[in-house]
Symmetry: C2
């Protein structure tokens, strides 16, 4: 089995750790002497000399706790180590972190049995987060290959990873991922439960499902998608849809309900499930099994009926002290996005929203990282706390390494665009640093500050590969004669410009001379 995963810093960056809590950052040293920092989720893999030992996994953090869950600690007024860590990571007060968690508006998905992970927070007052899905299917890839996918996704900025593995080696694959992951790991336990009954949804039972959940809790899974809102009464509402039920978990549970003519066993046993998750401080990700699979089905009766039930279940989970977030669509046209967030926040008591895209149109298979980045940026601006990425292969096939990167980068763009639009403290500083480098023709800095330094530099190299071009005061787009930015520099040097600017502003910016010839 190959033990090779991607290591070493990104071009122009180096890994550093801050303070007694050793909070990770990515430092970028610019050619003008400035050093800037980025939020970093890549774990020790991006240290300069890190030598991974996949068999033994990452070093473990100390985990002491005085309350079963972060939610109960926060309610008791305690700032846990994890809260202090994420506060330092986001440059925000620890008390804000504690209060948001206490109110159920944010979660720290950190299973007590996953001490390898670096604490992170999901909530609308914090940086918008991105999840990447990985996982073996019956016919592909080894556990070590899945570890590399996880490392690769976090290298480009994934904040959490969901292991959606199916097939015979599901437990072993998850073990490899958990022990080597610096980020929280999520799962959908119904997939493993279905493996236990040889793929026959009607053979599922609550007991089989619960055993799977306990096994995964013991292993260290940090958050779990649970489709407890797929109630029997809502299934007929999907009949008039364009695309029926598109959630795997949702369709499995719907098949079970109809076969037995009984209520969803996740719904009827939800309180017991809460007790299990509380024991390990595992976070609920209440799944939207009836999410729309086409813009036609967006915000329809089935989706909204389930969302109301998720709100009801959120209250039950919080009564049990269990951290909870809510999953969302799917496919939603732009005009229905704000409404979707509004209803989720209202009905689910402001629990963090975690959305898949949504795709703003159905017409572009092969480019659904783009169709969905549009929806993702908008829904995050309106209050979604975490975005589940979509890759270019969505609807068509299994993502490879390039697709994983394309999906993560598209979603980092969406998340950051939302942080900027929300006015998140410090978010626009990234834009400003890059724009300064651009205006000052510091090409190397522009690459290092880019979300993907490698691609930025390789595109520049295609037309201007020589070293002097990396400090030249023009690029190949316009060439030296036409460079507007160079002309701008000349303009700034013109005498009296600052005074004229001040005069204009003092006059109320209203110097509108008449047109000389009407």
């Amino acid at each position: 089995m190959s033990n090779v995963v991607s290591t070493g810093p990104l071009p122009g960056s180096r890994k550093a750790y801050r303070g007694a809590l050793r909070v990770p950052v990515r430092e970028i040293e610019l050619t003008n002497g400035q050093v800037v920092e980025r939020y970093d989720t890549s774990g020790p893999y991006t240290e300069t000399d890190f030598r991974p030992d996949l068999g033994n996994g990452l070093p473990k953090r100390d985990r002491t706790r005085t309350h079963p869950t972060q939610l109960l600690a926060a309610r008791a007024g305690e700032v846990t180590t994890e809260m202090a860590y994420v506060a330092a990571r986001e440059n925000l007060p620890a008390e804000l972190v504690r209060d948001e968690i206490a109110a159920g508006r944010a979660v720290i998905p950190a299973n007590v049995n996953h001490p390898e992970a670096e604490p992170m927070i999901i909530g609308k007052r914090f940086l918008v987060k991105v999840n990447a899905n990985i996982g073996t299917s019956a016919v592909t890839s080894s556990p070590a290959e899945e570890v590399e996918k996880m490392v690769w996704a976090t290298r480009w900025g994934a904040d959490t990873v969901m292991d959606l593995s199916t097939g015979p080696r599901i437990h072993e694959t998850r073990e490899w991922i958990l022990r080597n992951s610096p980020v929280p790991i999520g799962t959908v336990p119904i997939y493993q439960a279905l493996e236990r009954v040889n793929g026959d949804p009607t053979a599922l039972t609550w007991e089989i499902y619960r055993d799977v959940v306990v096994e995964q809790c013991e292993q260290g899974v940090d958050y779990m998608t649970v489709h407890a809102g797929v109630r029997m009464a809502y299934i007929p509402l999907t009949v008039g849809r364009k695309t029926g039920i598109v959630s795997r978990g949702g369709s499995i549970l719907a098949a079970w309900c109809l076969a037995h003519h009984q209520e969803n066993f996740l719904y009827t046993n939800f309180a017991e499930l809460c007790e299990v998750l509380r024991t390990y401080d595992v976070t609920f990700s209440l799944g939207d099994g009836l999410r729309p699979g086409s813009v036609h089905d967006a915000n329809d009766d089935a989706q909204l009926a389930e969302l109301r039930t998720l709100g009801e279940l959120t209250k039950v989970a919080k009564d049990h002290g269990v951290q909870t977030m809510i999953e969302g669509p799917g496919h939603v046209p732009m005009d229905k996005i704000a409404e979707n967030v509004r209803l989720q926040q209202e009905w689910c008591d402001d629990a963090p929203f975690y959305t898949l895209g949504p795709l703003a149109t159905d017409v572009a298979p092969g480019y659904d990282h783009i169709t969905s980045a549009i929806g993702a940026a908008m829904i995050a601006w309106h209050g979604t706390a975490m975005l589940c990425y979509v890759t270019p292969k969505e609807h068509l096939g299994l993502p490879d390494r390039d697709d994983v990167k394309a999906g993560v980068i598209a979603y980092k763009i969406a998340a950051h665009a939302a942080d900027v639009a929300k006015g998140h403290p410090g978010a626009q500083a990234h834009d400003d640093q890059l724009s300064d480098a651009r205006f000052e023709f510091r090409w190397a800095d522009q690459f290092a500050l880019a979300l993907d330094p490698e691609t930025a530099q390789s595109f520049h190299d295609e037309t201007l590969p020589a070293a002097p071009a990396k400090t030249a005061h023009f690029c190949s787009m316009c060439g030296p004669k036409f460079c507007s930015m160079r002309i701008s520099h000349d303009l700034r040097a013109a005498p009296g410009m600052a005074e004229k600017s001040a005069e204009f502003r003092a006059a109320g910016n209203r110097i509108y001379l008449p047109v000389a010839q009407p």
Copy 2:
């Protein structure tokens, strides 16, 4: 010189023409017997047996006119042939077309000397359009290669093309493009004017510029970017910016104003320019020479001062009977997009807005087709009539063929997402057709209906290349055991589903059973 351009229909499509006006459509014959139509801009190049003759150009349409411009004809109550054509093309009443043009809310850019082009309309009541920029630089490509870029861009859906050529063969290149283009061609005349004075902005004169405009009008250019709003008094407002002036035309004119300490000669001679454009029915695209080049500079004093002036010039142009649209940014964070459109519409008398992106963040060079597709989709939803594409090479280098396609497809996504969100008649039918094909496992139809059938099919082929997979009731993402859509089909077949759905709706969709175990 190579004479090879891309020809033949897209996979699964065939070219057809409707009615006496021979309005082009792309027909897609589905495997279920249904035939659907798409708006089509690709010209005769996508006919099955078309043999291009680049030396002689495309067949010419008859151009008769009773008024100098479409605007004057519309005001006189006339429905011109071009208006009837675009009405048929968009499945909307010809009177709506006429009224929107008469009010200045829409334009048909159709120079009387460009009879090769198929009429199209730009206005917020119509389909959102996409422009692709092409053009030689001093060191690259022949005229025939630029024709191929134009053909290639329209093959993937570009509605207009701007020729931004620089260098010695600028007239010849434009001639090749115009004679072979089925879509309107736009230019930025100041680029050619600058060539005439060997690249020295301070040597420009109104007379040199006017001669260039007349030459281009004679050739058949359909719309021209004119930076008449870059007034001398606004230039100092750019001093405090992150990125100064990023428009080439804007920086050239700013340099001229400061060197001569005189008002922009395009502003002072604007009325005469109107007379020239009216003669040929060339449409103004009033350029935003002071557009922001970073999110930091968005909606700032310089940008808004120029926008007010563009509004003033719009009125002058309309008084002369000249069709006019307004160019817009650039780089704008999501929270400032709606405001931008609102001000443009208010100050410019509802003239069509034509925006470059905008990029919603600056941090992702190499992916600016995505950062800008986010902004483009949103700004089009809010009322922008045409989007100027951005390719992955933006800020870094010259786009190649793949970049042109990536830019066009990203922008077709943005434009269509906006059409759907705006509720444009018939827009969502495309999504519904594709979603039906997806739900019914008609893989071949899903590819044919995709914006890019080739990429969709190639992604599917990567994991399931065999022919039977193209009708299989599952895909490689979940495999046969987990297919949610297949399970959905089984559910629909369950007895009594339709009745249950009706019952639920009759009860007000409010069947919320209590949680069995709290």
